[in-house]
Structures are given as C-alpha cells and as structure tokens.
C-alpha cells in the first residue's frame, strides 16, 4: 500500500530531521536510494521549486515528493506524514515548556544535534553537486559554464552587499534564464 509506505517514510523524516526544511533533504536522498520513487536530479529540481513557491520548504518538498510518487493523494499523505511527529512532539513540549528549556540533557542533545544536522545537509549538498555538475558521473562531463555560474552566484549571495539579502527566488529565476540562454542542458 503506497500511501501507508509514504506516510511512514515521511513520518520518520519529520521525526528525525532537526533544524528546519533543508534538514529533511538527507532523508529524502535516503528515501530516493531505498525506494526509487524519484531520482537525485528530480530532488534538485524539487529544492528549487520549494524555495520559489509559498510555504515552508520542508512541507513543500514533502508535497512535491508525494505528488511525484502517487499523485494528489500522495501529496496529501506525505505532507500529513511529515507534520504528524511535529504536532505530537510540540504538544508534549508545550505541557513541559519550562522544564524542557532548563534541562541539561535537552541542551546536551542539541549541542550534538546541531553540528550533525549541518554535516548531513553538507552531504546532501555534495549529492546535489554530483547530480547537477556530473550528469554521467565523470569529471569529463563537467561544463565550465556551470562552474562559472556557480562562482558568480556564490559571490552575489555572499559578498556583494546589494544582492546578498535578496530572496533566493531572484537567483533561481536568474539562473533559469542563464540556463536557457546558454543552453546548459545540451
């Protein structure tokens, strides 16, 4: 039963992804590898769509993956799956708010979880780089124009005062135009 499977996979994602929407990415790669519901390249497209549309990124990614896997029903089920653990966990924490905030164990756990989450997102980023820059998996297939575009974007989003605080959608749309003008996929 695909819906149950989807719900369960996304329930686990919602339960273990700490640190916001991007933190669900490593789990989605894991699902892609084990289930084969979607490809790594589709995941990269999905991140772009999720960043450029209204709604929290984690929710958008779950909806998108659910849709690719099992249509509109899949979109609803995957989204409900990813939010159910949140609802349960937050309702419990609400009841113990003060004690939760002061607990040394909770602080300790998060001290370890935060760098781990960062490390997992880095690993997911490496997979996106592979899918984007090495279409056939060899260094020979690297397109220098893509590297140039990446360098320009890195500078614009980090170093140039005027552009670095612009919304990601600006850079995503700009990159789409550059891709079309240069014929990057060919």
């Amino acid at each position: 039963m695909i819906y149950l499977r989807l719900f369960w996979e996304f329930f686990q994602t919602g339960l273990f992804a700490v640190g916001g929407g991007m933190a669900t990415l490593p789990f989605l790669y894991d699902i892609s590898d084990r289930m084969g519901w979607f490809t790594h390249a589709q995941l990269a497209d999905m991140v772009a769509v999720s960043e450029s549309t209204p709604g929290p990124i984690g929710v958008n990614m779950a909806t998108y993956v659910g849709f690719l896997t099992a249509g509109v029903g899949g979109a609803v089920v995957a989204t409900l799956g990813v939010i159910t653990p949140s609802i349960i966990v937050i309702l419990i924490i609400f009841a113990f708010l003060q004690r939760f905030r002061d607990s040394a164990y909770v602080k300790g756990a998060f001290y370890g979880l935060r760098p781990a989450s960062t490390g997992m997102i880095l690993a997911a980023g490496v997979l996106v780089v592979k899918a984007s820059f090495l279409p056939d998996g060899t260094l020979a297939s690297v397109d220098w124009r893509m590297l140039a575009l990446a360098a320009v974007l890195a500078v614009l989003t980090n170093a140039v005062k005027k552009t670095k605080d612009l919304h990601p959608i600006v850079f995503i749309l700009g990159s789409a135009v550059v891709g079309m003008v240069l014929g990057l996929a060919g």
Partner: protein, 193 residues
C-alpha cells in the same frame, strides 16, 4: 469552537501563503499577523516558540504553528493551525508538480533546470555555512560535524543513525563529561580557549 478553529486555520493558511522560502522567512509575517493583528501571542512567546521550533524535529514553520494554536485553543487549536499552514503549499505544489512533470522533456525547460540546479547547489552550501557558524563552535562540535558529513557522504547509513549518534554524543559530552560549549553557553564562554 468550530468558528474559533476555522479562524485559526484561515489565519495560518494566510501565513502559509505569505511565507516564501522557509521557516526563517516566516518570523516577520507571524509577528505581523499573529502578534500585532490577532494578539494570540506576545512578542516574547513567539520568540520562545520559534527558538524551540528550530531545535525540535520537523519543519520550523509547522512547529511554531502548532505551538501558537495549542496556546490559543488547546490541542484542537494546535492541529487546526498546523493544517492551516500546510494547506496552501499542498494545493500550490500539487498544481505546479503536475505542470513541471508534463513539460520536463522540453529542451528549454531542461536548460532552465540545468541553470537552476547550479543555483540550488550554491543555496545549499550557503545554508550549511550559515548553520555552521552557529553550530560548529568548538573542537567537539567540529569533530561531530566532520564525522557525520564524512559518514553521510561515504556510507549508505540511514540519517537516523547519525541523529541518534549526535544526540547521545551531545549528552555524553555536556552532561556526563561536562565538556564543550563555547559560545553556545554563556557560563562557559572563553573556557575553551
């Protein structure tokens, strides 16, 4: 009761539509809609909920919505607010995903997405950099960061393994060995140097 829940649902659906680009983008919108317009939570409460929402499992925006809904109308309120915040994305993404799947074979769409993927790579590494500044703060967290990154790149381990490993390491380091901390914890500031 149903009227109240519907009000929560609609207010958070509005927040869901206006949030562009994830949890952090949601904070100013929540401040305007929930704190100033509706008065459902104070500025301080919102800050608390948001901070906890960031470090608990799940999507930050969803966690924060559950908190505010729970505070206003109990458990049904928590559920109504959460469903509200995810309703617009479900509709919008389902429509878009259908369109994108249909056009994905066209040459110019492929070219556009080739460009977009480059941008996504840069955005992900920017997110890593931003998170890293706050989370990789001393030799211990650097070790956890490197171990997990290497493990996730080189092995096919489930991310769950890394999450459990990291939480246990954090508790062992901080609570049992009373080590680490750096800037994350004021009372030990400077002790690491």
């Amino acid at each position: 009761m149903v009227g109240k829940l519907l009000e929560l649902f609609l207010a958070f659906a509005k927040v869901g539509v206006m949030t562009f680009g994830g949890g952090y983008a949601m904070l100013p919108i929540l401040q305007r809609e929930i704190v100033e317009n509706k008065g459902w939570a104070s500025e301080e409460e919102l800050a608390d909920y948001f901070a906890i929402g960031q470090c608990t499992p799940g999507v930050i925006a969803v966690n924060t919505a559950t908190f505010i809904g729970r505070k206003k109308d109990g458990i049904p309120g928590g559920v109504a607010a959460t469903l509200g915040v995810v309703f617009p994305p479900i509709v919008i993404i389902s429509l878009l995903a259908g369109v994108i799947t249909q056009f994905s074979e066209l040459a110019w769409v492929k070219d556009a997405f080739a460009g977009i993927r480059v941008c996504v790579c840069v955005l992900i590494f920017n997110a890593v950099w931003k998170l890293g500044k706050k989370s990789v703060i001393d030799p211990w967290t650097t070790a956890i960061f490197l171990l997990v990154a290497a493990g996730a790149i080189l092995t096919k381990c489930s991310p769950v393994v890394f999450v459990v490993f990291a939480a246990v390491s954090g508790v062992v380091l901080r609570v049992l060995l009373k080590t680490g901390g750096g800037k994350a914890d004021g009372r030990k500031d400077g002790a690491v140097k």
